[in-house]
């Protein structure tokens, strides 16, 4: 006695003995494995099942259930799974020309079989596995909004190669490349050509003609571009190398940065850092700057060489790593910049005022000492002189000297007033105040003579911290002043009636009037 299973084969109900059922089931499973999934496979299996149903109906006309012998018979007629071996393997089992096989390498080509002008949209469509019409619409829409799209299309036309061989076409669609798929591609092409040949009317010929002409023009463009590419590659390499060399010699080798560029100036990088960026680790800053500027320069040289010698390299990860380092260096520089800025955020000044007795003193005589500039501008010093602003840094003593700035203004008061402020900056008011009080500036007022020192100084080892000395002379109307020529060096501004140049002030006496200082003859 046997158990039976009720099954449905191609819509016909059968009763199978238990062992017959198992045999038939495993047979059909084996076939399904051979054919895989997909609509074509389903069709084939459907046909096979129909035929099995037919055969079984014939054989079991007089009996209720199907026996295992009958199933074996069916298998013999239809063929064992091994018989299907060859046919299942020679064909790739794909049913649509544009499939979405992601594991094979996809390349962007121009598709000549789906082309209006050059197959750019066709190729894009094949690569992204969408209908090329989408790209065509996109191009036209962008063209209306932004004319440059035309050039984008031309660039793509030039840059992308046409998929001519079957292998290339398969690569374009990302399909597996084996004999079966190549054969299928050729067959598809043949059919497409045959059906197109009938449709080729006048409009198509015109389009083809335009396409040919454009192709010719683009060939010329391509050659020109290649030439330009070579020149560019060469230029980049040379330029990049030159910049790199200059940069390295400046920063690393400690040669003076600029000589003679700023009316006598001489800088060393580390001095700059020490003076103007107090508290900054010079090495860290240097590293940051080298990386920040150096990496792009190296990149330019590298791309230049690549363009010139036309070689490709697996350098994506390398490029990414360098970019990360560069980004980090930029970040570092920003941090340093911020912290430096903090050191200059507060101002403070130490002031001293003197008012002259108006009855006895209506004329002020300025006297400005001479500075020993030769010592200050000697070999081992860094200095900056531009018009009336100057700073000197003696490297051996680590001492800073600077010129004070003098201003002569009209005042509504009745007495001449001299105000000298020592100013500096710092992180906080108290910090700035401390810096300001470190400034040493020598001056005094005796009778009507104001003795001024040509320079102020900071203690040895002290950083600049924005130190300045500001001398203001306030003159009421009617008062007079004698300005020596030596004062021209420290003169920032004098309120003269006729806008005299500061070089015209020296060696003369002046009287303050309602409109400003006028020369006394």
């Amino acid at each position: 006695m046997k158990k039976t299973e009720k099954v449905n084969i191609a819509g016909v109900v059968f009763n199978l003995d238990e062992d017959a059922y198992k045999r038939l089931h495993s047979y059909l499973e084996a076939l399904r494995k051979k054919f895989g999934s997909g609509s074509e496979a389903n069709e084939i299996l459907g046909d096979i099942e129909s035929r099995i149903a037919e055969i079984l109906l014939e054989k079991t006309q007089r009996r209720e259930s199907v026996s295992i012998e009958e199933v074996e018979e069916v298998i013999r007629i239809m063929g064992t799974p091994e018989d299907y071996e060859q046919s299942a393997e020679t064909e790739p089992g794909t049913d649509t020309p544009r499939n979405s096989n992601p594991s094979v390498q996809r390349r962007l080509y121009r598709d000549p079989d789906h082309s209006v002008f050059g197959g750019v949209c066709g190729g894009l469509g094949a690569y992204f596995n969408v209908d090329p019409i989408i790209f065509r619409i996109l191009f036209v829409a962008l063209l209306i909004a932004w004319g440059f799209t035309f050039f984008l299309y031309i660039i793509l036309w030039i840059a992308l190669p046409q998929a001519i061989t079957a292998t290339q076409k398969l690569e374009m669609r990302g399909e597996a490349i084996n004999i079966g798929s190549i054969e299928k591609t050729i067959r598809d092409e043949y059919q497409a050509v045959v059906s197109n040949a009938r449709k080729n009317d006048g409009w198509d010929r015109v389009r083809n003609g335009i396409g040919e002409i454009l192709n010719a023009i683009l060939m010329v463009f391509k050659i020109i571009l290649k030439g330009i590419g070579l020149i560019l590659g060469f230029a980049f390499t040379i330029f990049g190398l030159a910049l790199l060399f200059a940069f390295l010699s400046m920063v690393v080798v400690q040669k003076p940065l600029i000589t003679g560029a700023f009316d006598d100036a001489q800088f060393y990088f580390s001095d700059l850092v020490h003076l103007f960026m107090p508290g900054t680790d010079t090495a860290l800053l240097m590293a940051g700057v080298i990386l920040f500027i150096g990496i792009p320069l190296i990149a330019i040289v590298y791309w230049g060489i690549k363009l010139l010698f036309k070689f490709k390299a697996q350098d994506k990860w390398l490029g990414l790593a360098f970019f990360m380092i560069w980004f980090f260096s930029a970040f570092l520089l920003v941090m340093i910049g911020v912290s430096t800025g903090e050191r200059y955020q507060r101002n403070a000044s130490v002031e001293k005022n003197i008012m002259l007795d108006s009855l006895n003193h209506q004329k002020l005589v300025l006297e400005v000492g001479a500075a020993n500039l030769s010592e200050l501008k000697s070999g081992n010093s860094v200095f900056f002189e531009k018009e009336q602003v100057a700073f000197y840094y003696l490297r051996d003593q680590k001492q800073i000297y600077g010129r004070p700035q003098m201003q002569i203004e009209k005042t509504d008061g009745s007495s001449i007033e001299v105000r000298v402020s020592n100013e500096a900056q710092g992180k906080s008011y108290s910090d700035a105040d401390e810096h300001a009080s470190k400034i040493t500036y020598n001056w005094n007022l005796q009778d009507s003579v104001l003795h001024l020192s040509p320079l102020f100084s900071l203690p040895q080892g002290e950083e600049w911290n924005g130190s300045m000395v500001d001398i203001r002379i306030f003159m009421p109307i009617g008062s007079q002043i004698y300005i020596p020529e030596s004062a021209e060096l420290i003169m920032d501004y004098a309120e003269t009636a006729d806008w005299s140049d500061r070089h015209e002030l020296g060696g003369k006496s002046w009287k303050m009037t309602g409109e400003g200082l006028i020369e006394l003859k």
Partner: protein, 112 residues
Amino acid sequence: MNIDNAQAQMRKGVLEYCILLVLARQDAYASDIINALKESKMIVVEGTLYPLLTRQKNAGLLSYRWEESTQGPPRKYYTLTEQGRSFLQELDQSWNELVEAVNLIRSSHSNA
């Protein structure tokens, strides 16, 4: 390598050609095609036919319509398309070339 295997291989190669030849004469069911092949002493198992038929149909060489059957589920009635006919002409030419080539090789082989 046994002879049956080699024979089966050769047959599989020409099977697609034979299917088209049979359908060129008249439209038929899959079982009719099998019988026609058997009559001409081309022995194949039925099962191998169905994948070929479906693929040729998907390639546009054949088309079919459903016919009701008293003996069971509906059956596909195959017919050759225009494309199929021109494809068949190509295959005819290929076949002739192939036969010529093989004959040439045979004759030079037996002469040597």
